[in-house]
């Protein structure tokens, strides 16, 4: 049962991700990206990370992708603007990079430390809001705060660029 759900969700996620990049219509691409996110949510829930799953929907599906759609809609692309076929100038280079990345991922996943962690027993409160909050505000406090500063800087920068006469 669990295996079947995992296989279906991951297959859906991979298929949707591939469709995101081979689609020429940007709106359809965004919809496939949404599909991919939703199937990742299923995977998160199966990994006992329900909080992360909900955040994935609220932040990525609910906010970031909506902004993508917004921008694409405002650009108002016509169907002929999408282009017909994908021309890859750097095809050999792209293939080489893909192979290297695949190799690296395989090595990383099959390393003994990773396998050990995968088989470790989860604490009962794993993935709950409290547990994630404790980790964020104690162990990872500095990276967390630095990220928020980075985000604020980005927001301010965007506002300054967009509204010169404020």
């Amino acid at each position: 049962m669990e295996l079947a759900i995992f296989l279906m969700a991951s297959a859906l996620s991979i298929a949707a991700s591939i469709l995101v990049i081979i689609q020429r219509n940007p709106i359809a691409s965004v919809m496939y990206l949404l599909t991919s996110f939703v199937s990742q949510v299923i995977l998160f829930i199966m990994l006992n990370a329900a909080f992360l799953a909900m955040l994935q929907i609220i932040v990525y599906a609910g906010a970031i992708l909506v902004l993508f759609l917004f921008v694409i809609m405002l650009l108002n692309l016509r169907r002929e603007d999408f282009g017909k076929d994908i021309k890859l100038k750097f095809k050999p280079l792209a293939i080489a990079f893909a192979v290297v990345l695949l190799f690296e991922t395989t090595v990383a996943i099959s390393s003994s430390a990773m396998l050990e962690r995968a088989q470790a027993q989860l604490p009962p409160e794993f993935g709950s809001v409290q547990a994630v909050g404790m980790e964020l505000f104690t162990k990872y406090l500095y990276p967390f705060e630095l990220t928020s500063i980075l985000l604020i800087v980005a927001v301010l920068g965007a506002v300054v660029m967009a509204k010169k006469r404020l």
């Binding site: 909080f51 599906a61 609910g62 906010a63 909506v66 809609m73 709950s128």
Partner: protein, 327 residues
């Protein structure tokens, strides 16, 4: 496992059907109440005092021509009503509408899914509701739809922030996101979160009105300027799905307000389920009342109000609540 699946399935089926019926007859209630407020009579022909009007409406919608504009992006055009409809239905899955009952010797929880992150699940589904509106606005290739869709999605994104923030105060006091536990905490009227978090409740109320695109924030379908907003080009049952989705959103928002702020199914004398229904309908009546009394906002006023008034107040509310929790 099988027993659990069957019980959950039956509960989900019942909740879904009750929700759809509620939506149908809320339209009737709205038209009747609104007519009273405007010194009209309202629908009174089909059935006793017009009680069968929703059924007549449904039959009319089903038999109308299902029209697809020639320049439409067909897959998205067909998908949009479902994307607006389904997220509106889902949040009711985590809302407890009663305590436990004994049926055939089994203890049955009157909630479809006792999910630990219920409140977050509801917010997640609300944020998915935008897709239906954006897709409906873009796909028919029509000016009115596009403008309505843009307005509506900008409005929903802005007020979603306020909606989430207005609930944070309650979450901090309660220390849980589980709606079943949240209701159990509010056993007496002094424990209701409307008493402990009045500012949060008012914020939630305003944001909920904007989030469901209802007057005085019904700009997406400002008929005097935009014809019909994002569903201008839809006809037949596809339009019906948007319509039912909007009412389902209203019911959901009322149910969440009841659960989070008004003590859910808690109440004296009457059975819990009845209390839940009474509170929900009081909230729905308030919706209609406001529609009958307030004029529509202008678009820039709406945005300014959301960003410069509601969100700062919500932040201040969170800060003060946090101080209270700490001290």
């Amino acid at each position: 496992m099988l027993e659990f699946a069957v019980i959950t399935g039956v509960k989900a089926f019942m909740v879904l059907n009750v929700l759809l019926l509620t939506c149908a007859w809320t339209t009737y209630l709205e038209r009747r109440f609104l007519a009273r407020m405007q010194s009209r009579i309202g629908p009174n022909t089909a059935g006793y005092r017009g009680l069968l009007t929703p059924i007549a409406d449904l039959i009319k919608l089903l038999f109308k021509e299902d029209f697809i504009p020639a320049a439409a992006h067909k897959p998205l055009y067909l998908l949009a009503p479902l994307m607006a409809f389904i997220p509106a239905m889902l949040p009711l899955a985590v809302i407890p509408f009663g305590s436990t009952i004994n049926l055939f010797g089994r203890e049955i929880n009157l909630v479809v899914s006792d999910f630990n992150l219920g409140l977050l699940f509801i917010l997640a589904m609300t944020s998915l509701g935008i897709y239906g509106i954006i897709m409906a606005g873009w796909s028919p290739n029509s000016k009115f739809s596009l403008l309505g869709g843009l307005r509506s999605s900008a409005q929903m994104i802005s007020y979603e922030i306020g909606l989430g923030m207005s609930l944070i105060g309650v979450i901090m006091l309660a220390g849980t996101l589980n709606l079943v536990e949240l209701v159990e905490q509010q056993s007496s009227i002094l424990d209701w979160y409307i008493v402990k978090q009045p500012v949060g409740f008012v914020l939630y109320l305003i944001c909920a009105f904007a989030e469901t695109n209802r007057s005085p924030f019904d700009l997406p379908e400002a008929e005097s300027e935009l014809v019909g907003g994002y569903h201008t080009e839809y006809s037949s049952m596809r339009f019906g799905l948007f319509f039912v989705g909007e009412y389902a959103n209203m019911v959901t928002v009322s149910a969440v307000a009841t659960t989070v702020f008004l003590g859910g199914w808690q109440g004296p004398f009457l059975p819990p389920v009845l209390w839940f229904v009474i509170k929900c309908f009081a909230f729905l009546f308030f919706y209609i009342w406001v529609r009958g009394s307030l004029p529509r906002f202008r678009y820039d006023q709406l945005m300014k109000f959301g960003w410069f008034v509601l969100i700062p107040i919500a932040l201040a509310n969170i800060l003060i609540t946090a101080l209270f929790v700490l001290l």
